[in-house]
């Protein structure tokens, strides 16, 4: 009889033993971890390992090796925008000097509080000033940040980064992320931990009515993934609302 089985009638015993036998047989058919999952976990662990170690002091700027964002913070409610134009209002600069990095495979500290504003952002409160040039990118690879305010659905998610819809404000629920580069960096890190790769595009918007940042991730395996995350992104995880392969 199965462990943890109270007294029962003989028929019930037989039935419950049959259940246990079914479960054992089912367990015997458990497939091993898929190789791609092993790779994914290894990558996630490597990313975590280089982010922060539980027993170490905070990583200094000099020792941080991650390309992490130098983000134009600069979103101020009410400012904006060029109607009818897709506006990339800021960029995540993956700048780092060559001497900072001893390994290309070794990302840095997303939680680094010393993230700097972009070199070109002379006025961090006027991100709109950059919009006439569209989303800013650099040759060091950058994420394009949009504030479309669009309400994406599962079918329109692939259009992230192409929308011409412009909204003049970010939903209140997303202000934590739009106004704090560290918070947004942590959010991107959470997304990239789940889907190893780089956030290439992010749009402060809605997903099926919920305040959301919709991102496109360029994955290390060459694929792309579209992810809608909620307002709690970066707090305890990505707060994923929806994800799909692009």
């Amino acid at each position: 009889m199965s462990e943890g089985q109270p007294d029962r009638l003989p028929d019930e015993h037989a039935a419950l033993d049959a259940v246990s036998a079914d479960l054992r047989a089912f367990a015997a058919e458990t497939p091993p971890m898929p190789p791609e999952l092993i790779t994914r976990l290894d990558l996630a662990l490597e990313a975590e390992r280089t982010r922060v170690h539980p027993a170490t002091v905070p990583v200094s700027r000099e020792t941080s090796r991650r390309r992490w964002p130098r983000l134009v913070l600069a979103f101020t409610t009410g400012i904006v925008v060029l109607a009818g134009v897709s506006v990339g209002v800021s960029a995540l600069w993956r700048g780092q000097s060559a001497d900072e990095s001893d390994s290309a495979s070794n990302p840095g500290n997303a939680d680094n509080p010393e993230l700097a504003a972009p070199d070109s952002a002379s006025d961090e409160n006027s991100f709109g000033a950059e919009t006439d040039e569209g989303p800013k990118t650099t040759d060091k690879s950058s994420a394009e940040i949009y504030y479309s305010g669009r309400d994406y659905s599962r079918t329109t998610l692939p259009e992230v980064g192409t929308s011409s819809t412009v909204n003049s404000s970010v939903d209140t629920d997303l202000k934590r992320l739009s106004s704090d580069e560290t918070a947004l960096g942590a959010c991107f890190t959470a997304i990239e931990t789940r889907y190893p790769g780089d956030v290439a595009v992010a749009d402060f918007a809605y997903f099926e009515g919920a305040p959301s940042i919709v991102v496109r991730v360029s994955q290390v395996d060459g694929g792309q993934r579209l992810v809608a995350v909620g307002a709690d992104c970066g707090l305890t995880g990505a707060d994923e609302l929806y994800a799909t392969a692009a």
Binding site: L23, A27, T30, P31, P32, A44, T193
Partner: protein, 209 residues
Amino acid sequence: MAPVSNFDEVDDGELLRRHLVGDHEAFGELFRRHRERLWAVALRTLGHPEDAADALQDAMISAYRAAGRFRGDSAVTTWLHRIVVNACLDRVRRNKVRAAQPLPEGGPEPVSSEGDPSKVATNMAVAEALDALPFDQRAALVLVDMMGYPVSETGRILEVPEGTVKSRCARGRTRLAELLGHLRNPDADPVVPSTSPQRADRTRGESGT
């Protein structure tokens, strides 16, 4: 501390300690040792490979970050299992909140179509029936009946008394027996259509039981 490449003689607790003092390889080795069993727990508890993969990754990162809070009250492997089960529970809750949304990819774990057709059908029925159980019963059955862990160990993983594990298992088995048709006719082949979980549910509903 310099990384140690050969961990053969190093126990789990020592790996965790080394991780905490900066051995960058130690946690990876610790997780590698147990990941297949942790994967099995996640997969059988959640039923969906994509969800199981997400839960396992969440658990791994949680364990990595929380290593300093491990007090040694239980075995390291027990602690890892507990984190995985909690990650599975988090995912179940998340999926409930977003029940209207489909999974990112795929659906329930595809049961292998190779081998004895009746065995395949039984496994499909068992998978569906397990999915119909409340999480606490499913987790207990996965750990006790499927993974073969003792009730005492399962109690430590789930952080509940042994009696609770037993009652969860008992209730879960009873429910599965109903869903799989064993309880009405213990000798019946559970793979015949009339004993599929959905069919069994309908039958009960029609009979008013």
